[in-house]
Amino acid sequence: MKVAYWPGCVSRGFTPELHGSMAAIAPLLDIELIELDRGNCCGAGVIAEHNQELADTLNARTFALAQQTGHMMMNICSTCQGSQTECQERLDANAEYRAIINENLAEDGLEYTKGDTVNKNLLWLLVEDYGLENLRAKVKRPLTNLKVGPFYGCYIVRPEDRLGIDAEKPRDTYMSLLIEALGGTVIEYAGMHKCCGFPIITMNETASLKQAGTHLGDAKDADADCLVTPCPLCHLNLDLQQPLAERVVGRELDLPVLHLPQLIGLALGLSPKELGLNRHVVKPTSVIDWSTAVVAGVGAGEGGW
């Protein structure tokens, strides 16, 4: 399948291993990525906080570029998903408003057409369009005995109405379904749908790190080997800031946090190094030990890293 691929900013900035691991797994899944390298930042809710029309126009621009490819749009960032869906909700709700936004785009020959943009995070796409059965068939190295805690990120689970989460599409449970499809053990814990604290890291650092530290601690207490998240911003607070979070909550955490494509890549047989796991601040020792144990077990040639 082909998708108009929106990587977002952070996956090409502070978490380059996310963009890299997505590029690594795409061919293995037969997903062709048409990268929207002309697209702009979604605003992460901050531009909308400053000026709604600006955020809506900027995202309408990215949608319009995606529409030109003729394929559905796929993102790899919970925050992009949430911010873009918020703008799309307003664009779709009111024809008059849409016309004003399109007027802002007219000079560049771009236009947002209602109904032509389906924008899904990799997580949603795999469950709803690609199919977990298909994914299961591609698994080369099931995540047997790897205990994985999901961490969704606020923007991909709330508000439920806007994000289309209901009994038919329980998108707030997809991470568990996916981990199971990859052969792993799901660890559910108190903080998995809560906030990583990243948005207030510059405003109230203690509160922000306390959030990250608490959820990491809860997952650790629930016996998780690692966390997996579809949100690079959560990754920054949970991984990059983990040493500082440890200080705030006063306990050792040492819990590796994986990006969603990295976890999928492991199950598809890629090595931790190929997936950029060596780039994390928290060494993913538990995950590497697991992967080398599995490789040793089946006697495969290439070791971990």
């Binding site: 709604q52 024809a95 906030c195 601040v281």
Partner: protein, 392 residues
């Protein structure tokens, strides 16, 4: 009429005065599926155990007394149908707990005074008249009140307070309900101290910039108040309209973010942090405040660079979109920012096109509101149609 069915309720019981730990209690009640969880609890109380503690009054989602958590989600017990609650139950039993973030008085009753009302009082929840007070009634354009309609819909049930994730780690946070209440007066053209209110909430380390953007309160509110959206509107007013550069880096962070996207098209993270602390320019990182933060986070930065997570070149120079596209992004900025007033669409007030199919033709014929009038500048000021709305 639907038939009576059996529903099992699992109630959280706790009496702080007893010295015993909290425990779960199960009762099976019989009611029609469209009846409320509250009616279920009251039946359990009447038939099985009179000591169950629950606060309630109107049973019609108006008084805001029966806020609880049902299957982990905050809401009103009287506003949740038994069949809906059963559908979201994990194991076929409807679980009812007291709200969070507030101390339990008994069973399902929490101490609203200790948290919720204290915070409401903190935001001066009354109108401060402009002087001189008019001799007769205060005449304001009807449309200007539309701006505050959404925050006025609050019934003070505390559901948003219950699940606020910022308050969970920072109990001093002013919180969603009180912030929505604050906007109700900041947005009121009759209030004399809008700027003082904003400055107070922006400068407070536990004020409007302590909200972590988690959307919990939006989902929790049974009345569609969307407290988080009111907080964002308070931030817009404080930062953009009154230029309040708060000590919490809130407005600096927003300004820097917006400026960086205009300059690069994508986020330049390495510039955002120092600018958020030091000020929105390339020189921001040399400000003492930024220096302090950089020194503190040096171990983390070093680790990130050593492990190849952050590429020093991208970190210093940032990544940009192609030149022509950057131009187009900047044109959008210029166009939007050249407007006299911010344009916003509040779906709470305007609704969705689909809500009334064919309504558009009708409105044209009858000469009432058109869609265009539903989009308004943020201020509910003269010239704005009654249906015009400031936004979420």
């Amino acid at each position: 009429m639907a038939d009576v069915q059996e529903f099992t309720l699992r109630l959280r019981r706790y009496d702080p005065e007893s010295g015993e730990a909290a425990y779960w209690d199960e009762h099976t009640i019989e009611l029609e599926p469209h009846r409320s969880v509250l009616e279920g609890i009251l039946q359990a109380k009447a038939r099985f155990d009179g000591s169950i503690g629950i606060r309630c009054s109107c049973k019609a989602a108006i008084c805001g007394s029966c806020g609880v958590r049902i299957n982990g989600q905050p809401g009103l017990a009287c506003h949740t149908h038994l069949d809906k609650a059963l559908a979201s139950a994990r194991d076929g039993v409807i679980e009812v707990e007291p709200m969070g973030n507030m101390p339990v008085i008994k069973d399902l009753i929490v101490d609203m005074d200790a948290v919720h009302w204290k915070k409401i009082r903190r935001v001066t929840p009354w109108l401060i008249n402009k002087e001189p007070v008019p001799e007769r009634e205060y005449v304001v354009p009807r449309e200007s009140m539309v701006d505050v309609t959404q925050s006025m819909a609050c019934i003070q049930c505390g559901a948003c307070v219950s699940d606020c994730l910022s308050m969970e780690v920072d109990p001093l946070f002013v919180g969603p309900a009180a912030s929505a209440k604050a906007y109700r007066f900041v947005g009121d053209p009759r209030d004399a101290q809008q700027e003082e209110r904003l400055r107070d909430l922006a400068e407070d380390p536990h004020g409007i910039y302590d909200c972590t953007h988690c959307f919990k309160c939006i989902d929790a509110c049974p009345k569609g108040v969307a407290p988080m959206n009111q907080i964002m509107r308070l931030r817009r007013r404080a930062g953009s309209d009154h230029g309040i550069d708060d000590r919490n880096n809130g407005h600096r962070h927003e300004k820097s973010f917006v400026t960086l996207i205009k300059g690069y098209g994508l986020l330049h993270e390495a510039e955002l942090l120092p600018r958020s602390y030091g000020g929105d320019s390339w020189f921001g990182k040399f400000h003492p405040n930024a220096g302090k933060v950089l020194v503190n986070s040096l171990p983390v930065i070093t680790k990130a660079v050593l492990r190849g997570k952050v590429n020093p070149k991208t970190a210093m120079l940032g990544h940009k979109i192609p030149k022509a596209d950057l131009k187009s992004v900047q044109r959008i900025y210029d166009k939007v920012e050249s407007r006299d007033e911010r344009l916003e669409l509040n779906l709470y007030i305007s609704g969705y096109d689909e809500d009334a199919p064919g309504a558009k033709d009708e409105t044209v014929q009858t000469g009432t509101a058109t869609d265009a009038q539903n989009i308004a500048s943020e201020y509910g000021q003269p010239g704005q149609s009654p249906e015009g709305s400031p936004s979420r």
